[in-house]
């Protein structure tokens, strides 16, 4: 077998897993009225079907004061049990085990949801929620213990194989452990022993409630990575003491806090497997099975982590959101069929974090497994002749899905390569991995029997002559041709031209950022890497205004500043003037209305929006039997919508 360690069994407590892959806990927002839902069942079931040995559910709340998110499942109500049973029965049919994660988020909560005060060890607001909590009284701590125990009983009665207590990046337990958030002077604060008291009480209460033979583990934050916080050395000691209590069966790990949330779900700007050193550090001290999670998105790397003894379990969260069948494909040696997560964070954390349901830019079926999951695609009753024009993400997905349904599909693109704008996007600094979106699909398009015609730019007449039953127009978008006065002047370029390396730029470059996303910032960084002096002017409050939800904001700004880029926010740019080498930007501050001029610059780069490329659509409208328009050529958006529409259209033709 290709992956000896990965597919070897392991015991966590009394539970034997068939392999070392754990689908790590993550919120989905699939709960309905704070109860487990059918959507949960199909969602986790799909990953069980896909071959993961272990599934750990999203964090579930143990107490009414724990309201970090509006759609947390409230595990402290006994009414959750029937829903739990449905989920666990469904998952168990696929020979997978399922644990439930229980949590109290402490200060990392929003009291406006529960209309209760937020509880924490000390009255110290969290950096993200910024709400001053109530300092917990000893009775409150005992109440949380009782609620942990009560919820754990519901978990056991719900048919779960085990329970994991979240002591990681977002948890009351970590807040007790960390000198950063625990300033108490009673028996719950001060010395390490005292700081460990409450978390140990939670563990003891749960162990007592579930019995000796039920698997119980914790998810510990391996390094808070913040001044004054816990570091690996201290966590090793804490982990060793938890282990010595003899009450837990495994040690799952996470990293960081909400000060540095970008480390919890590292994006593509973080190296693959970035937490391996921490897991290895814990494994040196801990004899219990240790987990390693964090951008391990491929089985080869997973195997290596295990073979190197750096962990005993491999946690995959986004890798399996993106491709639930990764374990099965790896087991069968079909690595080329795996859809690798690219760490863009847009669909998963980028949606979940702002209270939308979980998604994935590359997997439209996330949360819709019942309707769109494996095995739901039906062969087309009538085989049609389908012509897809445009081989960007939208066109690729439409062609693939239509091909799989048995249609005769021809995909045309005027470029030499498939991929559309993604081929340009991946040239931004640190954005190479974005291109994997296309690499993932190329083989699949071939396997779906699609005939690909590159460098093929058909006129509407040629298309009509070929007489297809269906035409899917996915011709994408282009940068706006005239977004601002003077855009057609000398030494003014758009992001595409710059990333494709066409123009000669001078040393001093000004980039106008009306995008707020990577289109602008990754281009600016690329220019800085080339040794240019870059000045970004944006109309937003700050540079990178759209990068918050994907956790890219912090590191992007850090890198840009390290590379000497200057930021000017709040400016509406009205005109670009001057000759090459003497370019000027004129604009006004959107708050003070004061006009200002910047310059001189050698060149100007515009990231000021896209316009649709839909001429073909309008030329064909009313002339073909079935005509669809998808992706950026409907309205310029992002890859997620292009793939979504491509998938949906391909399925329905």
């Amino acid at each position: 077998m290709m992956f000896e360690y990965l597919f070897s069994p392991i015991k966590l407590g009394q539970v034997e897993l068939k392999n070392r892959i754990s689908f790590q806990p993550h919120l989905t927002n699939f709960a309905e009225h704070c109860m487990p839902s059918e959507r949960h069942m199909y969602y986790w079931g799909e990953r069980a079907k896909g071959g993961a040995g272990l599934i750990i559910t999203e964090e579930m709340s143990v107490h009414p004061t724990d309201t970090a998110y509006e759609k947390l499942v409230e595990a402290f109500h006994p009414e959750v049990i029937p829903g739990f049973r449905k989920i666990t029965d469904y998952v168990h049919q696929y020979d997978a085990k399922i644990f439930c994660q229980l949590n109290h988020n402490g200060q990392q909560c929003d009291g406006s949801i529960s209309r209760l005060p937020v509880w924490a060890p000390s009255p110290m607001p969290d950096v993200l929620f910024r709400e001053t909590p109530k300092e917990m009284e000893p009775e409150d701590i005992e109440e949380v213990c009782r609620y942990f125990a009560k919820s754990a009983v519901h978990v056991r009665e719900g048919g779960f194989d085990g329970v994991e207590l979240q002591f990681g990046h977002s948890s009351l337990a970590r807040q007790f452990l960390s000198p950063l958030t625990n300033f108490r002077s009673d028996e719950f604060g001060g010395s390490l022993e005292n700081r460990m008291r409450a978390p140990l009480m939670f563990i003891e209460a749960v162990r007592k409630a579930v019995g000796k033979d039920f698997t119980l583990g914790i998810r510990l934050c391996a390094d808070e990575m913040i001044p004054g916080g816990l570091d690996l050395g201290q966590i090793q000691e804490i982990g060793a003491r938890f282990e010595a209590s003899g009450l837990i069966d495994f040690m799952d790990l996470s990293i960081a806090t909400f000060y540095n949330l970008y480390l919890v779900e590292g994006s593509m700007h973080t190296p693959l497997g970035y937490t391996i050193p921490l897991a290895a550090g814990m494994r040196e001290k801990i004899k219990l099975p240790v987990f390693c999670t964090g951008r391990i998105n491929d089985p080869v790397m997973a195997e290596k982590v295990l073979a190197n003894g750096q962990s005993d379990m491999v946690g995959m969260c986004r890798a399996l959101i993106c491709d639930p069948f990764l374990p099965k494909k790896a087991f069968e040696g079909r690595l080329e069929d795996i859809r690798y997560c690219v760490g863009d964070n847009q669909g998963c954390i980028g949606r979940m974090g702002i209270n939308r349901t979980l998604g994935c830019i590359q997997n439209p079926a996330v949360g819709l497994e019942k309707e769109w999951g494996e095995g739901t695609l039906k062969p087309a009753p009538v085989k049609k002749k389908v012509m897809v024009v445009g081989g960007g993400p939208a066109g690729l997905w439409a062609a693939k899905m239509a091909g799989r349904r048995g249609h005769q599909v021809d995909l045309h693109d005027r470029n030499e390569n498939l991929g559309g704008q993604v081929l340009t996007a991946m040239k931004g600094a640190g954005r190479d991995e974005f291109g994997v979106i296309i690499r993932n699909e190329k083989d699949q398009v071939d396997k779906a029997g699609v005939r690909v015609h590159l460098q093929s730019r058909l006129t509407p007449e040629e298309i009509l002559k070929a007489n297809p039953d269906v035409v899917v127009v996915a011709t994408g978008s282009q940068p706006k041709s005239h977004p601002v006065g003077g855009a057609d002047g000398p030494a003014v370029f758009n992001v595409w031209q710059v990333l494709d390396g066409k123009p000669e730029l001078g040393d001093k470059v000004c980039l106008i950022d009306y995008d707020g996303h990577h289109r602008a910032s990754a281009t600016a960084e690329r220019l800085a890497d080339l040794g240019k002096t870059v000045h970004i002017i944006t109309s937003s409050l700050f540079v990178g205004a759209e990068l918050g939800p994907t956790q890219d904001l912090y590191l992007t700004r850090q890198r840009l500043l390290q590379k000497g880029v200057t930021f000017t926010p709040d400016i509406a740019v009205m005109e670009v003037g001057g000759e090459a080498g003497q370019k000027e930007i004129k604009g006004f501050n959107v708050y003070s209305n004061q006009w200002q001029t910047w310059g001189p610059f050698d060149s100007i780069v515009l990231a000021m929006g896209q316009q649709v490329d839909a001429d073909l659509y309008f030329a064909l409208k009313g002339k073909v039997k079935e005509l669809y328009r998808i992706g950026d050529c409907v309205a310029p958006r992002k890859v997620d919508m292009a793939i979504w529409e491509g998938h949906k259209t391909g399925r329905s033709i």
Partner: protein
């Protein structure tokens, strides 16, 4: 001179053939024995050859004994074809699952019944295992035991043995009979039996001993008599490979940078424009100064 002949007991064991790929059990924990190719342990056959040479010289009688199910009869018939006088297979279902202690118990009883002057067998099993039972049994029976024997010479009541020592050294040892000798593999070519002898051996009588022949109680042999419990098969738990764990004494900001760099420290590159010979020279210098190559010997 009608001297008493030496009674030699040769122990034959079976081992798995390590050459064809083995198949793992469904969960990967253990080797599947169905379809596993087995052969007579080559070192045991060499021990047999030593014994047969003494027999050919007219000073010994050879008895081959194997413990195991019917499949071991192949090994025993081979021994008969090669020239052994007597072949005994010892088996009973309860003997399965034993360990070295249970095995030693059994062999001791065999020694005690047959009272051989010399016990010969292989020093190791081909499939990498060692089977200490014959040696342990010798100790229990108060017989001397010499391992790693390359050749032996019997003189009166003594046997002179050439042993393999460390790093190619050789050691000569004289042992009193009776004793047990474990022969090294690869130093003697076992004879190729004549076709006629092979045919004859197929019909020759084999003795089969059960527990009653040994008069050993069930609980002293096999799995019940084993001192070791068979543990569960588990994938090995490798020791953690040290990776560049961010130095905890560094401030958090630096630790984050260390994680993000994946342990790689970027350095500025330098361009060297030189004629080819000098490029080589300067490369060597760089490699040496970076500690990638040892200092040049002058």
């Amino acid at each position: 001179m009608a001297e008493k002949k030496l009674d030699i007991l040769v122990i034959l064991r079976e081992c798995s053939d390590p050459r064809p790929p083995v198949r793992l059990m469904a969960k990967g924990a253990g080797i599947r024995d169905r379809g596993l190719r087995c052969l007579t342990n080559p070192a045991d056959l060499e021990a047999l050859e030593h014994a047969l040479e003494l027999r050919d010289a007219g000073v010994a009688r050879v008895t081959a004994v194997a413990v195991g199910p019917k499949s071991l009869e192949d090994s025993l018939r081979l021994a008969l074809a090669m020239g052994a006088e007597r072949a005994i297979r010892v088996w009973n279902g309860v003997l399965a699952g034993g360990d070295a202690v249970a095995g030693a118990h059994l062999w001791q009883r065999v020694y005690a019944i047959l009272r051989p002057d010399l016990v010969l067998t292989g020093n190791r099993l081909l499939d990498g295992g060692s089977d200490p039972a014959p040696a342990l049994a010798a100790a229990r029976q108060d017989l001397g035991c010499v391992s790693a024997a390359l050749s032996l010479l019997v003189k009166d009541q003594e046997v002179e043995i050439l042993r393999k020592g460390d790093r190619g050294s050789r050691q000569k040892i004289v042992a009193q009979l009776p004793c047990a000798i474990l022969c090294e593999a690869g130093f003697k070519e076992p004879r190729y039996p004549a076709l006629e002898a092979v045919v004859t051996a197929t019909t020759q009588a084999l003795e089969t001993w059960g527990l009653e022949d040994l008069s050993l109680p069930e609980w002293e042999v096999g799995a019940l008599g084993a001192a070791l419990d068979q543990g569960e098969f588990a994938t090995p738990r490798p020791d953690p490979l040290r990776s560049t764990t961010p130095d905890p004494s560094l401030p958090a900001f630096e630790r984050i940078l260390a994680l993000l760099s994946g342990g790689i420290q970027p350095r500025e590159g330098k361009m060297h424009f030189l004629p080819p010979d000098e490029v080589v020279e300067s490369l060597m210098e760089i490699f040496q100064s970076e500690g990638l190559l040892p200092e040049a010997k002058t």
